[in-house]
């Protein structure tokens, strides 16, 4: 088992202009405290994060998109794996932190604590670059490959239940949307918001 926070610390040091979409809970708060970049979208929902990343990756095929998922979120909506495998966006990386429980509600076990294997589910849906890691060295190796190579890639990270004592996010969805979209406009040289007529 590895700590999610250690993985996120390692990840943030390796990023340049990659876009990051997060699930909710500890993952979002920890990532927000470590990163806080304009390239971050804290989606704060379960079962929607990888699909949002898929749309983003297809819209911007020249930009790497990283999705920070959780086991609870992926198990809520595994249908996204087949859509992802069907479109195969080369620029999408799904990182699923699997702590085998619903940590935010006290640690009730998810199905990955007993029977479910998220990487195997992804592979069965047609995502050949899906693997499970449980050490920081293996996580780093997968991330280095994911940032350099074509995907889509799914990295399931077996973590413990520890949450870093970081402040909770103080940005809401509306502010986050404008910050993120304005960054895309500037960095990609495109218009997202229309001028008034």
């Amino acid at each position: 088992m590895v700590r999610r926070y250690d993985c996120l610390q390692s990840l943030v040091k390796r990023l340049d202009n990659e876009l990051v979409v997060t699930t909710l809970g500890g993952t979002a708060h920890e990532w927000g405290s470590l990163s806080g970049r304009d390239e971050d979208l804290y989606l704060m929902g379960m079962g929607l994060v990888t699909a949002t990343g898929l749309g983003l990756a297809l819209a911007l095929p020249g930009r790497k998109v990283l999705v920070l998922e959780s086991d609870g979120s992926m198990l809520m909506n595994p249908s996204i794996f087949s859509a992802l495998a069907n479109k195969k966006p080369k620029n999408l990386v799904v990182i699923c932190f699997d702590n085998q429980c619903y940590n935010a509600v006290g640690g009730f076990p998810t199905a990955t604590a007993s029977v479910a294997d998220i990487a195997a589910m992804a592979q069965a849906a047609g995502l050949s670059l899906a693997s499970t890691v449980s050490s920081l060295d293996d996580f780093d190796r997968e991330i280095i490959a994911a940032l350099k190579q074509d995907g889509p890639r799914v990295i399931v990270v077996k973590t413990d239940r520890w949450n870093a004592p970081v402040p909770t996010l103080d940005i809401d969805g509306q502010e986050n949307k404008y910050r993120f979209a304005r960054h895309i406009e500037k960095s990609e040289g495109i218009k997202i918001f229309s001028a008034m007529k």
């Binding site: 979409v21 979208l41 989606l43 704060m44 929902g45 079962g47 929607l48 994060v49 699909a51 949002t52 990343g53 898929l54 749309g55 983003l56 990756a57 297809l58 819209a59 911007l60 909506n77 249908s79 996204i80 087949s82 859509a83 069907n86 479109k87 969805g173 509306q174 986050n176 949307k177 993120f180 979209a181 895309i184 406009e185 990609e188 495109i190 218009k191 997202i192 918001f193 229309s194 008034m196």
Partner: protein
């Protein structure tokens, strides 16, 4: 069901209104439109197995500079309600919902009848503006009007296709 001729009319109006990204889950009424979308080289098309996936993908596509639409049966609206609330509505992603209006008069499937009761009340509860299009002559103007309001409202909006457009 929507004929090829009407589906061509809808697709042309969607493209004319700037739609360039379409997620869809095939349904009986709109299958001709779904086929045309899937084959259209000018569109990024994303078949999904769950309408919520499509709604979330449309939100991501909008953030990437696209003008997205989700094509689905109105039954998909019920399945996608959580995705709409947590993504399009909470963040304010302008996503066009293109839906068949199953459950109105002429409905032959008993299990689709409740779709007719619940669609408009649900859209109202979600504060999603929508148009109901039952005549072919109204298609182009309705799509243009709804799509043109998305940018200023920064919120999803919908069109329900019923009447002679699907029956």
């Amino acid at each position: 069901m929507m004929s090829k001729e009407v589906a061509r009319q809808v697709l042309a109006a969607l493209k004319s209104a700037g739609i360039d990204f379409v997620a869809f889950l095939p349904d009986t009424a709109l299958i001709e439109l779904d086929r045309m979308v899937a084959d259209d080289p000018d569109l990024i098309s994303v078949p999904v197995a769950n309408e919520g996936d499509g709604i979330a993908a449309c939100g991501g596509a909008w953030l990437g500079g696209k003008r997205p639409a989700m094509i689905m049966e109105n039954a998909g609206l019920f399945l996608a309600t959580y995705a709409l609330m947590r993504s399009s509505i909470s963040f304010g992603f302008p996503v066009l919902l293109v839906m068949s209006y199953r459950g109105e008069f002429k409905e032959a499937r008993w299990f689709s009848v409740p779709n007719g009761w619940a669609s408009e009340p649900l859209l109202k509860a979600l504060r999603i503006p929508y148009a109901v299009v039952r005549r072919r002559a109204e298609i182009a103007a309705a799509i243009e009007n709804v799509q043109s309001s998305l940018s200023s409202q920064q919120y999803p909006a919908g069109i329900l296709f019923g009447g002679e457009t699907i029956w």
